[in-house]
């Protein structure tokens, strides 16, 4: 078998980076370990450079087990950007609340590697290995504050529920293998067109939706996300909400739109119902939350609902919508969580009530939180509006009820986002001393703010790129 190494340069570079950080951490003295963050940052930026540079490379390697096209390259870049922002924007938070352990940064790199392998998966084994590399790394990261019972509890809950969801997913994969006799996505698609199918395939399909729905935290498989998001270190929460979710959406599209198109009539309605439930449950339960991390967790369930709309469309415009929305979602979520972590560093609280008067104490942080939340709610002139427009345009004929539900629920979401904004801007602070943000946090916030506003006003170039990528997904 011929292995085309030029196609997997990004993965090789990332694996080397992860191992290098780990080895280096063992060699250098304990006091020097805080520099590992900078090395991880530099390394990830170089890997991002490699990923952008290898954009024109397309093809399959390892006998179809590994697919590299614009679609996977796009999501790889999204995942790497999320990793870079996590390493850069949360440096002080990690040093103060997690500790400078050598495992932290190398585990982040390995989680990113898992995402990237999963995004490029061309068969079930690669899918499973990428998924588990990502999940196991995330379990370690979630439980990283091992002195904190909350973090440990979140870790064990994530482990048990992720284990269960992987088992369900695997059972689904085994049934699809049983129905079609192959584990390659392309051959599964061909075999379905040739008429294999039946009950086994349908049951397998339902289990695949349940297993992957868990990973993107779509309702009713979202129960883990509020607990894990609250208990995990905020840096890990941010990474879990952005990178892990974007990668899971990529594989969801690869499996359903790419491989199981032949039996589309069986899963489109199911995915539509999941999307509707996620929007409803996510937005409605977010309203009474008092902890901002829990609130953002439910809001991310709702966001998963919006993104799933693009999968319901199962068309090029739908896939393009998913890609565009994933990209802007990374920046909006990262901005919001960076604010949460930076504020926690100063006032040691995640309660929304303690954000009173944040606009006077830290104007930039309050503004970024405002803009990111309004973008997630889909207010015009911000990137979130454009993203939702692309997503809902894709299903406007055929699923009008879903569009209407999405619009109503977006309005509901404005309510709870603005509740936080009101606390920040209207209420007077208990302690009016200004909160001084570190340079790295300020730069991350400015990046998030800049991208969210810029893509809202001028979405053309990114939309063009997403379109090309979606095209390469359908016509390899």
């Amino acid at each position: 078998m011929n292995i085309d190494f030029s196609l997997i340069t990004t993965e090789i570079a990332l694996a080397i980076l992860g191992l290098a950080i780990f080895t280096l951490g063992l060699i250098i003295p304990r006091s020097a370990r805080k520099g590992l963050g900078n090395i991880a940052l530099l390394g990830l930026i170089i890997v991002l450079g490699i990923a952008v540079y290898s954009w024109p490379n397309q093809g399959e390697t390892l006998g179809g087990m590994y697919i590299v096209d614009h679609f996977s390259s796009f999501f790889k870049i999204v995942g790497l950007v999320a990793a870079i922002l996590v390493v850069f924007g949360f440096r002080r938070y990690v040093a103060a609340n997690v500790g400078n352990y050598l495992e932290y940064y190398s585990t982040i790199v390995f989680a990113t590697l898992g995402m990237i392998v999963m995004i490029s998966a061309g068969d079930f084994i690669t899918l499973y290995l990428g998924l588990e590399l990502m999940t196991i790394s995330f379990i370690v990261l979630v439980a990283f504050r091992s002195f904190d019972v909350k973090s440990l509890e979140a870790g064990i809950k994530y482990l048990l529920l992720a284990g269960m969801s992987s088992a369900v997913l695997l059972y689904g994969l085994s049934l699809v293998y049983g129905a079609t006799g192959t584990i390659l996505f392309a051959e599964v698609a061909q075999s379905i067109i040739d008429g294999s199918g039946g009950l086994l395939l349908i049951i397998g399909l339902v289990m695949l939706i349940a297993g992957l729905g868990f990973k993107v935290s779509a309702a009713p498989f979202h129960m883990w996300s509020p607990d894990v998001y609250e208990g995990a270190p905020t840096s890990v929460t941010a990474f879990l909400a952005t990178g892990s979710k974007a990668a899971s959406f990529a594989i969801l599209i690869r499996v359903f739109v790419g491989s199981l198109t032949g039996i589309q009539e069986h899963w489109v309605m199911l995915v539509a119902v999941l999307a509707a439930l996620s929007m409803l449950i996510g937005n409605l339960i977010a309203i009474p939350q008092t902890n901002i991390k829990r609130m953002l967790a439910y809001s991310s369930v709702a966001q998963a609902g919006y993104i799933m709309v693009g999968i319901v469309a199962a068309s090029q415009s739908g896939v393009k919508g998913v890609m565009f929305y994933s990209f802007i979602y990374v920046f909006a979520t990262m901005g919001a969580f960076t604010v949460v972590a930076a504020v926690y560093n100063k006032i040691k609280s995640d309660e929304i009530a303690d954000y009173a008067g944040l606009a006077q104490r830290a104007p930039l942080a309050a503004t970024v939180l405002l803009v990111c939340m309004l973008s997630m709610a889909g207010i015009p002139l911000l990137a979130g509006f454009v993203g939702k427009f692309y997503l809902f345009m894709a299903i406007v004929d055929g699923y009008m009820w879903l569009v209407l539900l999405g619009l109503i629920m977006s309005m509901v979401s404005v309510y709870y986002y603005l509740r936080v904004v009101l606390v920040m801007f209207r209420d007077d602070p208990v302690d009016p001393t200004p909160l001084k943000m570190e340079t790295s946090v300020t730069i991350t916030l400015l990046i998030a703010l800049g991208v969210t506003v810029f893509l809202g006003i001028y979405p053309g170039p990114l939309s063009e790129i997403a379109n090309t990528a979606a095209q390469s997904f359908f016509t390899p």
Binding site: E132, I139, V149, I156, K157, L160, G163, M164
Partner: protein, 105 residues
Amino acid sequence: MGTGLNPSYFIGLSAALFAIGMYGALSKRNIISVLISIELMLCAVNINLVAFNKFLTPDAFLGQIFAIFIITVAAAEVGLGLALIIAISRRRETNNLDDLNWLRW
């Protein structure tokens, strides 16, 4: 084959095993029992894969290879789970899921 076996026996066995594992994972309150139940679910998957391999693609060992990967990864997952259980029981002196109520479920 000549043994009179057909795939439906294996599918039935693995479905039963999967259902038992699922029931155990959802009803047991002890973390170790839940881990064992999850292992049971993975065993059901492995039976499925190996049986399908035998009946569908006897020349290409797709299912067998997949099963080996699953066994390996499951071992890693259980190792991590036990480490977490030890860390929790050191602090809380419990391994019962009902006592893990610092966060709301």
